[in-house]
């Protein structure tokens, strides 16, 4: 047999002794890598919006917003309030989770008033006649350093001081 190149060990480098399982380890790891885009397609990493809704005899509130997002992403939250009875002074109250580590770029239409209600964000929307719908758009951008796992981001609707409903929502922010 011709000279074997230096540092080449035939049993190991030609016959692959002790290396048979390597290819399976590689395939296993590759499968894990392939799993990432598959999970992404199933919205595991966001930002496909959900449409949760809650209704009472007084009003119906539907939220159109993602529950999962990633650092730096821009997204929209849409609050659709349908008055089943006249709301003299509709007030939307958002958990602080909505403002935590996120830029609130736009709120349209602008609420007639903004305040803090025991640490929550309070937006006074005003009068909504019975049978009419009030659509509030909010545009957000997630701060790149923001991280959250199921951070509460509930939404409450009041008519003046009367609590009408609570919509349970949460936000998960991936790095």
């Amino acid at each position: 047999m011709a000279d074997i190149p230096d540092t080449i060990v035939l049993r190991r480098h030609r016959d692959l002794e002790g290396r048979r399982k390597d290819v399976w380890i590689r395939r296993g790891l590759l499968t894990l890598v392939a799993l990432i885009p598959v999970l992404a397609l199933f919205n595991v990493f966001g930002q496909r919006p959900g449409k949760p809704a809650v209704a009472t005899s007084a009003a119906r509130l539907q939220l159109y917003a993602p529950t999962r997002a990633r650092g730096g992403l821009l997204y929209e939250a849409r609050f659709r309030i349908t008055a089943r009875q006249e709301l003299k002074k509709a007030i939307l109250v958002l958990d602080p989770g909505w403002g935590e580590g996120q830029q609130i770029n736009t709120i349209e239409p602008s609420p007639t008033g903004e305040a803090s209600r025991d640490g929550q964000l309070e937006f006074t929307l005003g009068h909504i006649p019975q049978g009419q719908t009030y659509l509030l758009f909010m545009q957000f951008q997630v701060n790149p350093t923001n991280l959250a796992w199921r951070r509460p981001a509930n939404v409450e609707l009041f008519d003046g001081n009367t609590h009408l409903l609570t919509l349970k929502h949460h936000l998960t922010i991936y790095p």
Partner: protein
């Protein structure tokens, strides 16, 4: 702090990716691969620095990458047992003019690939090759038969 962590995570993710995609993919750099490389770099840059445009940020990222690279090469040098994990091992593809099919298949190397690599080293026939080794870098090296 955040930048250093993100850089480290991305560094090891790319390292792992490069180790598992196979050497054949690494050695070839055709026009499409070159474009992919640029796209990859751009995507990674967004994830690492995001909205940080500062010179300090660049210092942190570049220093972290340099340190990680030195750390890996130090491990590679000092801990022989880790060498195969970090760099991989060479594989003999041709012995005495004959392609070792199993090894070539394992690395997704076709006969045409091997012949092309041989031609690049001025070898016209694989029968003239005594040894061909797929190196850890993804390069195929050929040692010709000694002519009497």
């Amino acid at each position: 702090m955040d930048l250093a962590i993100r850089t480290t995570v991305i560094f090891f993710f790319i390292y792992l990716l490069m180790r598992i995609v196979g050497r054949r993919e690494l050695s070839s750099l055709e026009p499409f691969d070159l474009i992919l490389l640029v796209v990859l770099g751009d995507s990674v840059q967004q994830a690492v620095t995001q909205d940080d445009y500062s010179v300090t940020g660049a210092f942190i990222v570049v220093s972290t990458i340099a340190l990680l690279q030195v750390f890996l090469s130090y491990l590679n040098f000092r801990v022989p047992r880790l060498r195969t994990l970090i760099d991989g091992e060479p594989i003999v593809i041709i012995q005495d003019g004959k392609v070792i099919e199993g090894n070539a298949r394992r690395e997704r190397l076709t006969l045409e690939d091997i012949a092309e690599a041989a031609r690049l080293q001025q070898i016209g026939s694989l029968e003239d090759v005594q040894w061909a080794v797929l190196e850890t870098s993804g390069e195929l090296t050929f040692l010709e038969k000694q002519k009497n």
